[in-house]
């Protein structure tokens, strides 16, 4: 069913306003050279002791990792995509 004309017009006006604000912000971001590192990262204390895996354990099998998260039943995988190797290059900033 088509939208009533006033609802459609409100939507259209809102879209124009959104577009103009966003283009202004994108232009400001891309020309200022800032805002490159803009992420939030939160590490909270867990209080449980569910896993002992560390990043320096690259040969640990995936089954083992999921077994440490879910220590009771055997793992079944929803997807088994091919592994793509990435070389660490730089650490990004964090916030939160």
């Amino acid at each position: 069913m088509p939208e009533p004309k006033d609802v459609s017009k409100t939507h259209q006006n809102l879209q124009l306003a959104v577009k103009s604000k966003i283009l202004e912000r994108i232009h400001s971001n891309l020309t200022s050279g800032g805002a490159l590192v803009a992420s939030t990262q939160y590490v909270k204390s867990d209080g449980t002791n569910y896993g002992m895996y560390t990043k320096s354990d690259p040969n640990s099998s995936l089954g083992d990792i999921w077994e440490r998260v879910f220590p009771v039943a055997p793992a079944t995988h929803a997807a088994t995509p091919q592994l793509q190797v990435t070389q660490p290059r730089k650490t990004t900033g964090s916030g939160g």
Binding site: I26, T76, K90
Partner: protein, 395 residues
């Protein structure tokens, strides 16, 4: 009848408070609108900047992307490719430009925009078509309409894979890996494995992403959303509108990690974990960051005149006022979540009390530099003032 952007600005400015918390009215059309217009704006800048290389490696790609840039498929926007494009513009990356442009084409193609194109890449990549994860390829050819797509990929060793995928409602079906998705309560949260991610320049983060998704983790997500639905149902639209893609990090001893990267709208990451309550908390927390990230696409939270830094207890560091705002916004919503869980009879009452004990002093410290700060903009005030009221009301 002509359009009136002035009226649009009034509606827009009156809607800022909806990004604060789920107790304020939210104009639902706004979130996908911001994501879509942001995606288009970034895509235009990216395609202009890398035009030469993209036209060389994917000469027909612009014929698919241009109609979208002109306004077709308005819901496009919740995809990683726009964050990748933003990063590429900033860091001047050239090795992945065609791949990012092809990701945009598969994204809008899966949303129904027809087209025929091909592209070749310098290194193998795995593109997505809707919730299908395509084989790793160094070149791809696509011919699609809104109902069917013929996709041919060539691997690094010239292995050819031909896929015919068909649309069934909102989903595409075909002989490719299906990306697991959290669907409870209307969510459409795709759980991405490591090789579905590009995230150039975030290599450390990508290295921490799990390469497979265990079905039991999907069960934990489902149980987490069920907790939100049962004890804090007002937070269901909050997570539903803002969370679209997630990748899972390797678990670490005694800690749970989560995060959002500002320019990847709808994408979050969090640690693998066996308990649904902390996952529910992190969904609420990251959805808050995503709301703020959406809103700051329309304007900043402060005018830049406050050059001080302030102590942020959650990260134990000095922070600029904008990041103090981000922390206050996220942790206030988390505290409201735990208070409502406790009020509505969740079994883990002691955990709610423990969280209250941690979060309340944090928020008192975070609130002090926000109170009366003249550097805050209308957007900044709209983000935090409703939360201050709600924390007094829902005590």
């Amino acid at each position: 009848m002509s359009s009136d952007p002035g009226t649009g600005h009034e509606v827009l400015e009156s809607s800022f408070r909806g990004f604060s918390c789920p107790f304020e009215p939210f104009v639902e059309a706004l979130a996908p609108m911001v994501a879509a217009e942001y995606g288009r704006g970034i895509a235009r800048a990216f395609l202009d900047r890398h035009r030469g290389r993209i036209e060389r490696d994917a000469p027909r790609l612009r014929s698919v992307l241009d109609p979208w840039l002109e306004g077709a498929v308005p819901e496009a926007g919740w995809d990683l490719c726009f964050g990748d494009a933003y990063r590429s513009i900033h860091i001047g990356e050239t090795g992945y430009d065609t791949c990012i442009a092809a990701s945009m084409a598969t994204h809008v193609g899966a949303l129904g925009l027809p087209g025929a194109w091909e592209a070749r890449f310098q290194t193998p990549v795995r593109l997505r078509w809707g919730r299908l994860l395509l084989p790793a390829c160094t070149s791809i050819a696509v011919e699609s309409d809104s109902a069917t797509a013929a996709i041919t990929t060539f691997g690094d060793d010239r292995t050819r894979t031909q896929l015919i995928v068909t649309r069934d409602g909102d989903e595409w079906c075909g002989d490719a890996d299906r990306i697991p998705t959290v669907t409870r309560c209307g969510l459409r949260l795709s759980v991405l494995s490591r090789d579905a991610l590009l995230l150039r320049d975030f290599d450390d983060l990508v290295a921490k992403a799990l390469p497979t998704i265990d079905l039991r983790m999907m069960g934990i997500f489902d149980a987490a959303v069920e907790i939100i639905e049962r004890y804090t149902p007002m937070y269901i639209p909050w997570v539903r509108r803002a969370l679209h893609n997630v990748f899972i990090l390797y678990p670490r001893t005694d800690t749970i990690e989560s995060g959002s990267v500002e320019h990847y709208l709808g994408l979050i990451h969090l640690s693998a974990h066996a308990q649904p309550l902390p996952i529910a908390e992190l969904l609420v927390h990251e959805a808050a960051h995503q709301h703020m990230n959406l809103l700051t696409k329309l304007g900043p939270v402060d005018d830049g005149s406050d050059h001080n830094t302030y102590y942020s207890p959650p990260v134990d560091k000095q922070r600029r006022i904008s990041l103090i705002m981000a922390a206050y916004h996220a942790f206030s919503n988390v505290l409201l979540f735990y208070r409502l869980c406790r009020r509505n009879g969740i079994a883990e009452r002691r955990e709610c009390d423990r969280q209250e004990g941690i979060l309340r002093p944090w928020l008192e410290q975070l609130q002090a530099p926000l109170e009366g700060n003249p550097a805050l903009t209308d957007i900044g005030r709209a983000l935090w003032l409703p939360l201050r009221s709600q924390l007094q009301t829902i005590a």
